[in-house]
Symmetry: C2
Subunit: 409 residues, 2 copies
């Protein structure tokens, strides 16, 4: 299959590119390298050293004998170049990961809000408009998020994208209608993924585009089978307060003897998936497109759910780390339940990796190996959801909680 991976230089895109290339697909990475620019902007870097995309692709060729092409295109601002590339290369599938993907970054300042909305919405819409204009029926697989559902408080299991509701007609009869699960995003980033859903709904209906939307949970881990093969093929490992995801942050905090930073009570239940399962799900989604004219196919790309404080305790037990409870920079309920329907990938043959597996200690090993690259000052999360919350978070951080290396790990 000829696959274009938009955002193939990122945390999911890179291991997905190697995974799909290793399966024999003809892969091209299209990326504006914005994730590297954001590293530069924030003055923070991946724990694991990142070679240039060109160098990584050279190593991959040497290791596997397989070629992955790279095109530097900003799909959010270079619509015409995207269209020309699609017209000339006619991919069977487009894996669309080319969006700003961190909720805290999207809430940092007004500039970051404006950038995230502008970049993410135009990226998705430009792709869809270009496919229609060129007349391609490439299957689009998009990386969405469980966050489009918001944090459900009514205790209902979150279905895979759609909900049947009863609507009362003028004559009093009730009619059942299938709708997109009502959106309730918790950040600007999550909101852009809700906007994407409406773009997909429209283009599937009006132009019969074949689209799959993956509502992914929080990814943990860093290695996949391919990224292990050579030191320079290693994946990103973000640990900072903006881009680091919760479990990876706990592991790295433990590795350097930093207390595990739980925001709020830790009663927030979140959905998780290991990076190896993430790329396997992408493979399954690519192999099972909807038919033309069908609604957007939505998968919950999730293997398990945990409360944040339970995760912290698990990592604390494994490593001996302490836990620090900090103010929550997000505007959300302290405690929530989360039940997620996740049947479709299981039916397609996914055999989930769970937290009890050895991959957690594997992750601790990666963290310890690169411990010398950690900037301790970047571990606290300082992006806040509102200015009032921001003042309170910075206040607490400045007035007591010990962020110095404790040496207890």
């Amino acid at each position: 299959m000829r696959i274009a991976i938009l955002g193939g230089d990122g945390f999911i895109g890179w291991p997905a590119a190697l995974h799909l290339s290793s399966l024999g697909h003809d892969v091209t990475i299209i990326d504006n390298l914005s994730r590297r620019w954001i590293d530069t902007e924030l003055g923070v870097q991946s724990l694991t050293p990142m070679d240039s995309i060109q160098e990584r692709l050279r190593i991959w060729k040497a290791e596997s004998g397989k070629t992955i092409e790279f095109q530097l295109i900003d799909i959010a601002t270079e619509y015409e170049r995207l269209k020309v590339w699609l017209a000339e290369n006619k991919p069977d599938s487009v894996l669309h990961l080319a969006q700003q993907r961190a909720a805290p970054y999207s809430m940092k300042t007004d500039r970051h809000k404006v950038y995230t909305v502008n970049n993410n919405t135009n990226a998705t819409h430009n792709l869809l408009a270009a496919l229609v204009e060129v007349g391609l029926d490439s299957h689009v697989v998009h990386m969405g998020t469980m966050g489009v559902y918001g944090y459900s408080t009514v205790g209902a299991a979150i279905p895979e994208g759609y909900l049947n509701v009863d609507i009362t007609r003028a004559d009093g009869d009730k009619v059942s209608q299938e709708i997109l699960y009502p959106a309730n995003p918790g950040s600007i980033y999550h909101m852009t993924k809700c906007l994407d859903q409406l773009l997909f709904q429209f283009y599937a209906k009006n132009d019969s585009l074949r689209i799959t939307d993956l509502h992914q949970g929080i990814v943990w881990g860093t290695h996949t089978e391919q990224t292990r093969q050579h030191e320079q093929l290693i994946n990103r490992f973000d640990y900072d307060g903006d881009y680091g995801t919760v479990l990876n942050r706990f592991v790295i905090q433990a590795a350097v003897g930093h207390p595990l930073t739980v925001h709020g009570t830790g009663g927030q239940t979140r959905a998780f998936i290991h990076i190896q399962d993430s790329v396997r799900c992408i493979e399954l989604a690519l192999a099972n497109p909807p038919a033309a004219g069908e609604r957007t196919k939505i998968f919950n790309q999730v293997t398990e759910t945990h409360r944040v404080r339970d995760l912290a305790e698990l990592v604390a037990q494994l490593t001996g780390a302490d836990i620090a409870y900090l103010p929550n920079p997000r505007k959300e309920a302290d405690e929530n339940d989360l039940v997620v329907v996740k049947e479709q990938f299981l039916e397609l043959g996914l055999s989930p990796i769970t937290l009890q597996d050895s991959l957690l200690s594997d992750l601790v090993d990666v963290a310890k190996r690169y411990e010398h690259r950690i900037d301790m000052s970047r571990i606290p999360s300082t992006s806040a959801w509102t200015k009032t919350i921001g003042k309170s978070v910075v206040g607490r951080l400045e007035s007591g909680v010990d962020f110095k290396r404790s040496g207890s790990a």
Copy 2:
């Protein structure tokens, strides 16, 4: 009240500015004048002659003694200038009409799709982000559309923005939850108004912004009390296939002896409102903001519903015009019912103007007066929803339907 009208040079914005100014409010128009540029792009002009905004404001000052300020700002691309203006002027209310507003234009080519999504989404988001950043609690009144609901086919009355649905919990109990009425937009333009709804929902929840969204029907008429006062204060009257709205197009077709162009069977039921009621509703909405922390207040800004073919027959009876049934460029059902809840504006004191009133012949008089300015070739609607439909529409137009002046009016 100090009111900023974003898009105050447009079809609703201009009469709204005069109406609010005449009531004694301190009005500033902020506009990028894009509607004039689109006239230039399409090579079509308002039936009524349009003086420059500066000239119109000079006349208004001479006629009424009241000053309306004008600022040339493109709010979709000039975020910083918008923010500075808001910080310096601190409006009590912002009336937001600064979006591309024609469904056919939004479907014309891929360039028009990309422009509409980019312009409309960034315009709304920039405004909301700037208000939060500056720390203003200005009430935002936004012009949305009945089209966010899609064309309901289940026969239920469309409520004012929100729907209560039952969600089944894991324990089997049903929980009633209020959701935004599920979006089902029929064009790229309508889709952008659905994206707006999610932006409003987020900013009302996260930042307690006070927002009102007016889900307006199709506007007919051209004059309001103020635009009648001087020939150079006259409002736009669009009759072309992209920007002309259905009833205004019928009237102008009748005035020049063109058959009334009904697309499809004319069985589409649409919601309508007269331009005078539109500006009155805006006045009522501005005077009744939601409280900070409340959900977005949504009004259906509609006074009556009609099938398109019934409207055509009404105008035909009044004028003696013929009716021509043409292929429908839109992807939609041939026939639909539409029942709209519209209690809120009635409760606030709106006394609706209906189609039976003398304003319809008033409109015919305007059309006849400026008949010499009509370019007959711009009357057919050629923007199509898909390329396949486009070929069929152009084919039919080229092969038989008489678009020459018939002289029968």
